[in-house]
């Protein structure tokens, strides 16, 4: 069985586990006050080139989105995002549970445009009825998007400029950030991206860690008493070292970037292979997730041999699948996938 169903189906990168073992018997204070958490934050600040940034470690993506967004918004404000944004569709209403509306914008392959954002913000401010409407208080984008696509440096700069001109923070969901930065199609480095937003996070859960997302407030703009807000929302782990040690390992060398680039390379190998087989792609994703359009007739052939995720049904006879690579994906997994598909197509 080849399992490409998602990028969180393996454990942690071996180096991460080794670090947990090595540090296991150290007596460390709780709640993130330990040296590994501090060093991890330092390493991330250095990788971002932002000495004044504030870094906070949380355990998962939905938790991070809900805590960051609710901490940055006033009660009457909402979060603008692409209609396909993760917070809009797949987080079970976690943002609304904190009392805030998600304000969806039209998107193309998961991306919103600066022009559409500017129009939306201008209308929201100009509206004569604005006292009766939710104020846009933050703009949320994901990088890569839920479709694996990337904003270019130019596009991100334009979005950030719009946010700046309306004095609204830009928040980047980086649950898969490494796969974005590691893509050959990406024209941005981490320091550039960090300068083009007010807050973002570096996803660990889907990129080599057992759990953990590193939230980066880029300009000493972490809300006051953020730790207490995290505690209130159940996000503060007693053994904060669990996240500290993992991120320390991922960032004390180029490990984080290397494993993500590897996964992207595996995905590009997959993409080339799919194309060679004549299998269309729903989206031209340059990152670790690929979205092939399968004829439904081949699906029974894959049963028990390939684990994949259902994405959507574009019509009655086709199915879009999601296939994901991660640090543990090997070239032979991709070869196996392609062999399997070739066989199925030839039946």
């Amino acid at each position: 069985m080849i399992d490409l169903s998602c990028d969180y189906n393996d454990g942690a990168h071996p180096s991460v586990l080794e670090a947990l073992i090595e540090t296991n018997m150290e007596k460390l204070p709780g709640y993130g006050a330990d040296v590994h958490t501090e060093r991890a934050a330092d390493l991330i600040r250095k990788a971002c080139g932002l000495p004044a940034a504030r870094v906070f470690f949380l355990s998962g993506g939905t938790q991070t989105n809900a805590i960051v967004i609710s901490a940055m918004l006033k009660s009457y404000e909402g979060a603008v995002c692409a209609a396909t944004g993760h917070i809009s569709l797949h987080e079970a209403g976690a943002i609304e549970l904190t009392g805030h509306e998600v304000l969806p914008l039209p998107e193309t392959e998961g991306k919103i445009t600066a022009a559409a954002l500017e129009k939306f913000l201008r209308d929201a401010r100009a509206d004569g009825n604005r006292d009766h409407m939710v104020f846009p208080g933050l703009v949320y984008i994901s990088f890569p998007t839920e479709y694996g696509t990337l904003y270019t440096k130019k596009e991100l700069t334009a979005l950030h400029n719009v946010c700046r001109s309306f004095d609204i923070p830009l928040f980047i969901d980086g649950a898969r950030l490494g796969y974005g930065l590691g893509s050959e199609a990406c024209d941005l480095g981490l320091p550039e991206l960090a300068r083009l937003c007010e807050v973002f996070y570096i996803g660990g859960t889907k990129a080599g860690a057992l759990c953990g997302e590193a939230v980066v407030f880029t300009q000493d703009n972490m809300p006051a008493h953020f730790m207490t807000m995290v505690k209130q929302r159940g996000g503060l782990l007693a053994k904060g070292r669990l996240m500290g040690v993992q991120f320390e390992t991922l960032f004390e060398s180029d490990l984080y970037f290397n494993i993500c680039s590897h996964a992207d390379a595996m995905a590009m190998k997959m993409k080339r292979g799919l194309r060679a087989l004549g299998i269309p792609l729903r989206i031209n994703s340059p990152t670790n997730q690929q979205f092939p359009v399968f004829e439904d007739s081949i699906l029974p052939e894959l049963e028990g041999k390939l684990a994949w995720s259902f994405w959507e049904k574009p019509d009655e006879t086709h199915t879009v699948a999601r296939l994901a690579c991660n640090w543990a994906t090997r070239p032979e997994d991709i070869d196996g996938l392609l062999d399997l598909l070739r066989e199925a197509l030839n039946k």
Copy 2:
């Protein structure tokens, strides 16, 4: 430096880490649908002797309290607890953030009585103004309490009977459950305790795991769509295996009980030693946390040699400290502590 400041200053028990390593390369589905999580739930059901119980793994105590309480209450209901209860004082208002009042009862050494509970519930129901008051909708106790004390089987039975007669669920915060069950003073086993409440949790974070609390709904009474509620509140880890593997390890043998009994035994050794030194104890705790009353004059002697936690100042010249044992506490740590104190007292 001897560090007895808390019971979460070490990593995981080595067997737990080993299991994480062994299972690391298995391809497993996310969100708790993996075989280890399922097996951990089975093992816990077996340990409780409750085949119909439902088990759900969360990552920390405050998260667990907030999710379980909010899932079981209606909007106009509150949680009754001891005035010293963790949810009342030290969770930064996490319960109130979910919209529910915490209704404090007078306590003695962290424990409430069935008589006081019955009177409170009766008054709350009888009150002519009850439409204008919060309804008690759940009773929360901790076992052991925040002071390390234990309810006897008789006391817990009485509390549960009161709850039953008012048709209100009893919820036991077991963040340190093992230390309670492992105490020589405890006259209850896990199956008995499980039968005396509607929901409880088995704390892993403070007892051998890196993180994780196993919530047990004892009577197939898990609220419908509980998983979605967990997702909404940011408690659903993508790599649910992290908790599943740890609890599987703790419960596939008697590991959980053994490490907790060990810690309790270390604490009893400490208690005997403290008494022998003539150091009074704030509370007669039979579990892993001890609360010696130090003369302030000896505190400077401990600096740099002992890590302890501040508990409270009973008067101008004394300080109550908290000293905690866990799976990693060795007899020589206790001996070292006692030597240190003997020396300090003799100065």
Copy 3:
């Protein structure tokens, strides 16, 4: 100055004020336990032909929407509504503040279709990821809609049937209910409408009262302890008589229906006049609100002579206005409006 800017720019119908004066010196219990509130509820039950219905009086529309919706939903459920629904756009996020998502459906002139609703509900239930998505828990429609349009009996029956088949309650926002029922285009009576939903409200604020909305749970399905939930959300008036007396007056005769029919008749007179003048209508509204499309060039001519509301700008040179009639609108107001427009057009 002719003021047709909205339907809440006058006080109460004189009969309503008289009743407040007549009952003013009666000593009455608070919080809705008075005889007038009880009688108003009886009269409404009778008007609906639903002896088992439960009636509760609240003070305004947004309050009513937030209280009813939050009382009927579980935490992980959301309210489905037309994308143009009042709760989606113009209530400042009041529903989200209670923790629930508003799930927008495409609409035409403010109306959703049974087919679109059925597809949405079926997809929501079928989705493999549904544990990670908000559950549709209630369907909200407004009657008349925000555009003044009406569901036909057939359309409403179809919507209700879909709701029934998914076991989801249908909630009708009747802030302007009387103007719907009073319209010549309406093929439904109050008893029929009441049978085609689980809960609805009869708007008083915009139809003859100073304030007040009568919520009707049609099938003895008022949530338990609803009064306490109302208290919690700040909707319980100490002098509940204020609403009781007003609704008693509106429903002890046909007053409520008569004043709404009158307003609709005035609106139809306006519509005929606008058409005669060649002024296009944005929407063909059969109720008390009309939406003429003015050339921007005539707007300066109206200044100081006509109070109207801005609705939207369809293009650079036109403006859609909202003009509303209520119980106090006189034929001469409409004549005055038409004279004014005729004059402006001829300049």
Copy 4:
């Protein structure tokens, strides 16, 4: 039947009703933008001697408390109040529903002391665990208290000074403010009281109006977008004139003060009479509510002749009643009450 059960059992003062009639046919904009609301705010600013104060009208006490407190607190802050405070006991958890804890202080006859407050705030700030505890973010007192008692100018000044030194706003619940200011025992005027807090409200519902509370932010410190927050919480009436006209009437002369003084005078007449009859008073209240301690044996004699409220049972054979006066209480009502009691006692 003499009805002294509460101070909201009558309608509005006749002058208030007359003003509603006189202004009824005026065309006025909605949501508080009308001239009467503006003038009412001006009159209140003038009465307070605070030209920069911001005034906002809401419809009831619980609504006001929940909106003001939630608007002024950060998510991790709570409201300090007397353990007997209305928000702590009798508002069905409305404050907690907004996500904030109520932090109770010990009280005497409903009053807290500056010394106790200072100690509480100092401890809260000093606590080593403060990141895990709710921050006190606002101090709530009621004037008069729930027991009818009053803070002296000296006591209020001391409380305010403590609040100032900790930079925490003081919020005075004035649901019965007029009865406090109108009491002979009160050594404060409205301007003095207004200067000793950051925000307070002038209760209309219980003092001559049909509904309405005037919130006064004393120092141009109304939270930004307060109107939108009011809308979100369902407190914004479309016909804002309802509150504007009533408060305009109450404050364009000394009407508000006169009717409250009258009620206090009636209460003092009652108090003297009760004492002359040898009926003890639970509390020495100088305001419109009195709390006689009745022997249970006389209660049957009062049945059908006197409407009173149950307050509490101090022992098995006595009952504390609440008897309240308002603008409509006549000397002959008090005489009737005293005759009734005299008769009952002599049986």
